[in-house]
């Protein structure tokens, strides 16, 4: 299903004694990942849950593909929206295969179609269908469970996915792997994804657009990660992204995006100079240069052919030339 846009228009959620979300407005174009990030109590999870009406907004409108969610039946809405949570919530009494098949079954797909889809999705998230289809959740590791959770959310090919700290419950190594896999999947599927996290680094890595929220449900800043890092809109945002936001920005740019001049044929890398691929981030490159105590790094392609050289000055310049925020 083609991805859709998502829009929050002056959305608020009030409870008797507190305001969880206050006048939230932003727009996510189809096929983009929008990350809601902020400290505890900023209303990011509440905002997410209002999209599939697990929580109802008290004010404002939420539009999916231009349609007001209040005009739709909540059950239909949920079946048409992928939802992934931190503890995953796999139904323990169903096999992995049957878990993934839940929404297709609710929608009345026929059995052969369901089976094919289940296998397709398991393979997509990196789990061998034959091996995992008939296992039970209790037999899986945390990372495997999360993958099944994502497969389950994708089962009915929803145009919109909601993810609430999906990688929070696994260890950092698994988390990084899962993040990379999601980004890879996104290249293939181009879904509209709303992703909640409290981790600014995850937000920067995953988001095409980032919404920084403050306690009390207020939107502090909305924009691409590079923009937020380069120009924090307030002290709160500046503090939240961290004093090292300069370095963080460096992680958004690859050496391959710089203007690299291939050196002459008689060029040889000096001893200690690190060799980096085109995809290496400026941040990692800088880190390796500092480690090796050299003043430049050499960029090579897959065949070890030298593409160019990166110096401290070039890195600093990249930071200040108006933000080449390409990832």
């Amino acid at each position: 299903m083609k991805a859709v846009s998502l829009e929050f228009r002056h959305v608020s959620r009030r409870y008797a004694d507190l305001v969880a979300v206050k006048d939230l407005s932003f727009e996510v174009p189809a096929g983009k990942i929008c990350v809601l990030v902020g400290p505890s109590g900023c209303g990011k999870t509440t905002s997410l849950k209002m999209v599939n009406r697990l929580i109802e907004p008290t004010d404002g409108q939420i539009l999916i593909g231009g349609r007001d969610i209040m005009a739709q039946d909540p059950i239909e809405l949920r079946r048409g929206t992928g939802y992934v949570i931190q503890q995953v919530g796999l139904l323990p009494h169903l096999t992995v295969g049957n878990n993934v098949a839940i929404v297709p079954r609710l929608l009345g797909w026929d059995a052969p179609r369901i089976k094919a889809r289940v296998d397709e999705l398991l393979a997509l998230v990196g789990l061998d269908p034959a091996a995992y289809r008939d296992r039970f959740p209790a037999q899986l590791s945390g990372g495997e469970r999360q993958r099944v959770g994502v497969a389950r959310a994708l089962a009915a090919d929803p145009p919109l996915m909601l993810m609430d700290e999906p990688f929070g419950a696994v260890d950092p190594i698994v988390r990084e792997r899962l993040q990379n896999e999601l980004l890879r999947l996104q290249e293939q599927l181009a879904k509209t994804i709303v992703f909640v996290t409290h981790d600014i680094d995850e937000a920067i890595k995953m988001g095409d657009l980032v919404a920084v929220m403050d306690v009390g449900g207020v939107l502090a800043q909305f924009g691409p990660p590079a923009e937020i890092l380069a120009n924090p809109a307030s002290d709160f945002v500046a503090r939240f992204v961290g004093a090292d936001r300069g370095l963080k920005r460096l992680s958004l740019t690859c050496v391959g995006d710089l203007n690299l001049q291939p050196p002459g044929d008689d060029f040889r890398p000096r001893p200690g100079q690190p060799l980096v691929g085109r995809r290496a981030t400026l941040k990692d490159t800088l880190s390796q240069m500092l480690d090796a105590d050299v003043s430049a790094a050499v960029v090579v392609d897959r065949n070890q052919k030298v593409l160019g050289v990166v110096t401290y000055d070039q890195i600093a310049a990249a930071l200040h030339d108006g933000g080449s925020g390409a990832k």
Partner: protein
């Protein structure tokens, strides 16, 4: 000491009383389960009712069965109602708590995921909560069946038309005839133990996806 000839002569009666025994218990367990299920769903959906429901059933439980049967005699005479009302009440005590606890044992993230996936309330109850509550429901069933079988013997004080195997116990006692006494006592124990073992197998089969549960505390 035991008159086996007498026993051999009365095998038909034994069969009759055994069937009566199971029948009286079965009615109570069946009705009790249905009522308890409804009460448990109510208790879990509306938390406010949980406390009072449990409190009332706890009070009922502490009243000795003999007293309850005796008390009803003045109200409903010596009828099937007098037998079944207390039996049903005692099953409520066991079932409501077990079923409600069973529903409570469903992890919160599973419920949240189920909501997010798009189950309706009713679908969620039958396809998610009930299956996951099954282990505790079966544990409750086992307890209820066994205790009801025991209580049926007590109904023999109400007269010949009830009592199941307890009939022989009382007869044997009043006639000072140990053979008849054992004729009733031993089969009633065997019956109760047999159902206990049978249901414990069912209990173990009921959860292919989880590790076996420890013996539940009182």
């Amino acid at each position: 000491m035991l008159d086996f000839g007498w026993m051999a002569d009365h095998l038909d009666d034994l069969l009759y009383r055994t069937i009566q025994h199971i029948w009286l218990a079965g009615i109570a367990v069946g009705i009790g389960f249905v009522i308890s299920f409804a009460l448990a769903v109510l208790a879990v959906r509306r938390r406010a009712t949980y406390g009072p429901i449990l409190a009332v059933s706890d009070i009922l439980y502490t009243i000795p069965s003999l007293a309850l049967f005796a008390a009803l005699v003045s109200v409903t005479g010596i009828t099937l109602l007098t037998v079944e009302i207390p039996l049903v009440m005692y099953t409520l005590v066991i079932f409501v708590r077990n079923i409600a606890t069973g529903f409570d044992s469903v992890p919160a993230d599973v419920l949240e995921a189920a909501n997010g996936l798009g189950y309706t309330g009713r679908q969620r109850l039958w396809r998610v909560e009930v299956p996951l509550a099954v282990p505790l429901i079966v544990a409750g069933l086992r307890l209820a069946v066994v205790s009801t079988l025991g209580l049926v013997t007590v109904t023999s004080i109400l007269g010949d038309s009830f009592g199941g195997l307890g009939f022989f116990i009382l007869q044997g006692y009043s006639r000072s005839f140990p053979t008849e006494l054992y004729f009733g006592a031993v089969p009633s124990i065997v019956l109760a133990v047999a159902f206990d073992v049978l249901l414990s197998r069912v209990q173990r089969r009921a959860t292919p996806w989880a590790r076996p549960l420890m013996g539940t505390t009182v």
